[in-house]
């Protein structure tokens, strides 16, 4: 017997929905078994996940707050991924955006009105992110350099730049010898709307814009064609280089904007941890949503809910963070696995020995 993985001709429809629902059930059963084996009541664990993420006003605010930067980064990355530009540098582009925004926040005159302050910071962050994405973008467009490793390594460059700023260039003299960067002034904070920093409005606007851009504009169409096949795009008269570069600028700019949103809405102080791994989580979010902007809103929310739910479990059941992490991992794993089974099927076919037997049988006949 031999197993072969084959691409499905038709992916989607009610079968896809069935597989996804099945995946959730598998995740629940698996993690339930795991928790029972460890001596925890799985029902109260699931209750704690829901209570921690959506069950209280604070929990809900937490979940949305965490989802905002995740969503903006995922949206930015999805533009890169649509043209098969493997941008794994979200973390670095986010940090660069935050660095540029911090610079503006500390250098604008204090009597600048808040809207001007915020808009200038937002634009600066987009420039920061775009420039940082443009470096690997240019190398890819003009010399075919592998952008996956390039963007990945630039994350560490951005982190080290921030460490340098924190230890040397921007070290806050008021911090009693502690090497930290001064917090941005109050005037540079994003105002709260419905109890959550207004980054959520920015994220929703970005969702609509990215959706419209990829679906309904000429450049968006060209971007997707480049993603399908650069050669086809070339024959169709599309300037591949131009599409690549403009796409990378848009992508990096949006990821950089997430740096501003996080700085102005939640962190208020630049540090090398401002990304918090969002640049990497967003890769998974973008793909789970199959690069579909509105779906990313839901996936980002669920992703954030998982994190808050894990904290909820730690509190309600007094379980260690590592167990909560395993359950988080299991849920994510089954979700990814279901996407695999939606796109592919496992074919069972006769192995060489069975083929031989069959042949022998036929000979006898």
């Amino acid at each position: 017997m031999r197993l072969r993985i084959a691409k499905k001709d038709t992916a989607g429809g009610y079968k896809a929905v069935l597989i996804r629902v099945g995946a959730v059930l598998v995740a629940l059963v698996l993690s339930g078994l795991l928790m029972t084996a460890m001596g925890y009541n799985p029902i109260s664990a699931f209750a704690a996940i829901i209570k921690g993420s959506f069950g209280s006003k604070r929990g809900l605010i937490n979940t949305i707050t965490v989802a905002i930067p995740l969503l903006v980064v995922a949206l930015g990355l999805s533009i890169s991924f649509s043209m098969r530009f493997w941008n794994i540098g979200g973390e670095g582009q986010l940090i660069m955006g935050a660095i540029f925004a911090t610079f503006v926040a500390h250098n604008l005159p204090v009597n600048t009105p808040t809207p001007v302050y915020l808009i200038t910071m937002a634009i600066a962050s987009m420039i920061g992110g775009a420039l940082f994405a443009l470096i690997p973008g240019l190398f890819r467009a003009y010399s075919g350099t592998n952008e996956t490793l390039f963007t990945l390594m630039l994350n560490y460059v951005a982190i080290k730049i921030t460490v340098f700023l924190r230890l040397v260039l921007w070290k806050d003299p008021e911090a009693k010898g502690f090497p930290s960067i001064e917090a941005i002034p109050k005037i540079a904070h994003l105002p709260k709307v419905f109890g959550i920093h207004s980054g959520w409005i920015i994220a929703l606007i970005a969702t609509v814009l990215v959706y419209v851009f990829l679906k309904y504009t000429k450049r968006g169409y060209e971007t997707r064609v480049v993603g399908e096949s650069e050669r086809t795009a070339h024959y169709a008269g599309i300037n591949v280089r131009r599409v690549l570069i403009s796409g990378v600028i848009l992508s990096g700019g949006l990821v950089g904007l997430a740096g501003f949103v996080k700085l102005s809405g939640a962190a208020f102080t630049l540090s090398e941890s401002i990304g918090g791994g969002n640049g990497f989580s967003a890769v998974i979010i973008a793909w789970l949503a199959q690069l579909n902007a509105p779906v990313m809103v839901i996936v980002a929310l669920l992703f954030a809910a998982m994190e808050q739910g894990a904290m909820g479990m730690e509190l309600a059941l007094k379980i260690p963070a590592s167990v909560a992490d395993i359950i988080k991992g299991l849920i994510l794993f089954t979700a990814l696995a279901s996407e695999f089974f939606i796109a592919y099927r496992v074919v069972i076919e006769p192995g060489p020995r069975q083929l031989q037997k069959q042949a022998q049988k036929e000979d006898q006949v």
């Binding site: 006003k57 009693k176 962190a267 941890s273 509190l315 590592s322 794993f333 796109a343």
Partner: protein
Amino acid sequence: MNFRKIMTVILALVLVVGVFAGCAQSSVTTAAAAETTAAAAETTAAAAAEKIKVGVIYISPKNDGGWSQAHATGFANAVAAVGADKIDLKEIENINDADAQQTETALNQLVADGCQLIFATSFNYMDVVEKVALENPEIKFEHCSGYKSADNFANYFGQIEQPRYLSGIVAGRMTKTNTIGYVAAMPIPEVYRGLNAFTLGVRSVNPDAIVKVTWTNTWFNPQLEKEAAISLIDSGADVLAQHQDSTATQQAAQEKGVYGIGYDNPMYSEAIKDAYLTAPVWNWGAYYQTRLQGMVDGTWATGSYWGGMNEGVIALDAMTALVPADVQTEVNGLIDTMKAKGNDFVFAGPIKDNTGKERVAAGTSLPAADQFSMDWYVEGVVVAE
């Protein structure tokens, strides 16, 4: 080539590996988990309605063998002393103190859970704790190792420099190469203070010895800590000390056949029995007990606490048999002086920095404010290249 297919397969593989790695780790923690559930079951049996919920956030797992474990042990002891029927401890582990958003959501989870007093046990939590404390004036907060406070927001720390100085005497007596290695975490005043106190202790008995320091820029990263320790040994150090939250430095010392001085907790175990000499240790239970009792009695008040050996919040771990009897007598003979004079004894002049400039004149001591913002090295410290 179908990139999407490859991507999916890679992601799936990574996750499988991740799940297995997680499972392997969990077998270690299950024992601890079973213990905590047993304790939880016990406590829930008692009158749950009266309990005061107390929240804690830790920077690392609470069984890290170091910093967080010292705090967790302190809380467990304090709850046992005050009464498990009176306090319900709510803990969240692994909250990165440099990630302000994660810190804030963790604190909010504790607030939503109904905690009336919340402890944040790492330096960088400070600004976020201040923010959340201002937003929730009815809830009390305590922050370890910082300098900010408010009516509902206290800070606390211990003068670990005192046992560090004593452990420096042990190192100064034990070294044969006159080179002592020091694996240091973050370049912040707390770590400078400890390193300098240790070096002053070393040179009080061995003026020829130097202390080589390597900065790891992380509190908890066992692999990196071990690499730093090994490179210090390779450059001639025959005694290692650490300002790190794992036991990796001690393991490196054991493997390479040199001596080690730990930190945070009594670190002695069979695995490091040929290396481990002693350690400056935290005894947070002493402080937490008074704070939790204050909550029960309704007498909790804000403040800035900086206790020393005299208050019992810190100590020198019992020296192992590897330390000769005369050295043990010498060190133990200083404990009473240390309790009486505290950090004034540790930072008594004359003290020069490692560029030769005089920092503290003879007959005086370094003022507390200057200790708290220390960012220079005393004479005898060499930064490893």
